[in-house]
């Protein structure tokens, strides 16, 4: 074996070792992501939540009725996109129209807004909360969390989509109304939240949940939302979907997870 051949072999071995390390670090989680998510179990990702999302139909609004008139609602919204645009660098832009309606069916106000969502691959690479459908081919792009206000108490909120980017298959939403608590009920509500939910609520605070005063816990307990269902029939007026939220096991093991992305 010549010296140059030995040098080539060393370089090759070094490259092989490096690619092996990169593969071990990144290939397995990414491969798991790329394979059929239907087979995702606790081995690959820790499923942190399952919830029902509603796909807004094309060319028609979807109405959500509140249990009592409200001036505030929370909307979680994301685009579901096709496989061929999963890594689109610029992400996706879409518009949503919010129409507040009072108890008499009269329009209170209309508000249009444009949203930008990172691609599914960008969200996955961020290592934060990852959302997916187990039984559908489309992928979930970045979720937005909107807190929307009505100028007057509203009985219903209609949501319509417009100007959606190519590659977006549908816009899925979840709508929430704030729970009404009397007196110290919100304190017991706060104490009955899971440890993770309590941590999430107290994240902006300098102290952990168990070091907060009773008044602070009571105030945080008021920040509790209940999902609102849509008007109409599944399959005719909207499509009902089971949305999964998960944390990547590899990221959790590295201890770099920032739960700020959880909703």
């Amino acid at each position: 074996m010549s010296l140059s051949m030995l040098a080539k072999s060393l370089i090759f071995a070094l490259l092989a070792l490096t690619s092996g390390w990169v593969g071990r670090e990144y290939a397995i989680p990414v491969a798991n992501y790329l394979t059929d998510v239907r087979d995702i179990t606790a081995r690959d990702a820790r499923i942190s939540k399952r919830s029902i999302a509603y796909r807004i139909p094309d060319q028609a609004p979807l109405g959500f009725v509140f249990s009592q008139p409200v001036t505030l609602a929370k909307i979680l919204v994301h685009p579901a996109v096709s496989e061929d645009v999963r890594d689109l660098e610029q992400g996706f832009v879409y518009g949503i129209r919010l129409r507040w309606i009072d108890a008499n069916g009269e329009e209170i106000s209309v508000h249009d807004t444009y949203l930008q969502a990172d691609s599914p691959d960008t969200v996955f690479a961020s290592g934060e909360v990852w959302r997916f459908f187990r039984t559908r081919p489309e992928l979930v792009a970045e979720q937005d969390n909107l807190l929307v206000e009505s100028p007057e108490p509203a009985a219903q909120l209609e949501i319509e989509v417009f100007d959606i980017d190519r590659g977006i298959i549908g816009i899925d939403v979840r709508v929430f109304e704030q729970r009404i608590y009397l007196g110290a009920q919100s304190l017991s509500a706060f104490r009955r939240l899971s440890e993770e939910s309590r941590d999430l609520l107290t994240q902006p605070n300098a102290f952990p949940a168990d070091m907060l005063t009773q008044q602070e816990q009571l105030n945080l307990g008021r920040n509790h939302w209940r999902a609102v269902g849509p008007l109409g029939l599944d399959g005719r007026d909207y499509t009902m979907l089971v949305l999964y939220e998960a944390l990547r096991e590899d990221v959790m093991q590295d201890g770099v997870f920032d739960s700020g992305g959880a909703q």
């Binding site: 179990t41 499923i47 399952r50 029902i52 899971s194």
Partner: protein, 287 residues
């Protein structure tokens, strides 16, 4: 067999469920509690496996263990296995259907204690093509009327567990659903308190199959929350469930621990259409 336990049901369900009413003896007729030694457990497992697999030869083994065979009105091709009248020792009550279309077993180990679960299991057995069903024949907790009690979900050395293993042997890709009831007011977290159903496979790692069932139920029962342990809630995971542990040790992945809220249990008994949704999801998951 002694007096039947009253059955609550409405509409078309009443007629179906009333046919199964005599399945359930009253608990104060229980004379003692019989557990199985190793030989009896092995005999029970192989006998249940044979019967569920369609071999009538298994009956002789179960007769040796104190069971008698009968039929169930309204259920064709179904064998009822129960202890003789006046000899109830908590061995359990079992149904095995010879011409089943669904590889499904419905079980209720806490009938009487978890209200409506026994009735619900019998209704689901009759309304699906389930292969088998099983119930407790003794109370979960001792009372002043009946001092003999046994919690089957914690008993490894019992014929109820042998039945589960026998089913797994006969239908290795089948599904065993264990129905339980929970009281939302006694739950620690808000999520569990407001849940309609909490599913678990008795481990910290829900299988794809369990998630398929959960997804079906979530869509069918929306807006009633259907949760999965441990992601959606950290409660009612059934990690110490005896049948779940035995089945996992045997390499069977079709164990489903289904906790149902009191309100939903009552609704499932009264509402045929609602119960039909549950039956459809269970049959799909067992396919």
């Amino acid at each position: 067999m002694s007096l039947a336990k009253p059955i609550l049901a409405g509409g078309a369900a009443a007629a179906i469920i009333a046919g199964a009413a005599y399945l359930f003896p009253v608990f104060d007729s229980v004379k003692g509690v019989t557990r199985a030694d190793d030989a009896e457990f092995a005999l029970g497992t192989s006998a249940f496996a044979a019967l569920i697999g369609g071999e009538t030869g298994g009956l002789a083994g179960l007769e040796k263990l104190g069971f008698g065979a009968g039929t169930l009105a309204g259920a064709d091709h179904t064998m009822l296995l129960s202890e003789a009248e006046g000899e109830c020792a908590g061995r359990g009550i079992y149904l095995i259907r010879s011409q089943a279309t669904d590889k499904l077993a419905l079980t209720a180990p806490h009938r009487g204690s978890d209200r409506h679960t026994g009735t619900l299991a019998s209704a689901l057995f009759l309304e699906t093509g389930a292969q088998a069903a099983a119930w407790n024949s003794g109370p979960r907790r001792a009372t002043s009327k009946c001092e003999h009690a046994i919690d089957l979900a914690r008993e490894r050395n019992h014929l109820f567990s042998a039945f589960a293993l026998g089913f797994a042997e006969a239908a290795p890709d089948g599904l065993i659903v264990q129905l339980h009831g929970f009281d939302g007011d006694r739950r620690e977290s808000l999520a569990a308190r407001e849940a309609g159903i909490i599913l678990s496979n008795g481990s910290e790692a829900p299988s794809a199959r369990l998630l398929d069932l959960a997804d079906c139920l979530s869509l069918a029962f929306a807006p009633i929350p259907v949760l999965v342990y441990p992601g959606d809630t950290g409660e009612l995971g059934a990690l110490s469930n005896a049948q779940g542990q035995l089945l996992r040790e045997a390499g069977f992945d079709g164990f489903v621990h289904m906790e149902i809220s009191a309100e939903l249990r009552a609704a499932l008994i009264e509402d045929d259409a609602l119960r039909g949704k549950l039956a459809t999801c269970l049959a799909e998951a067992a396919a």
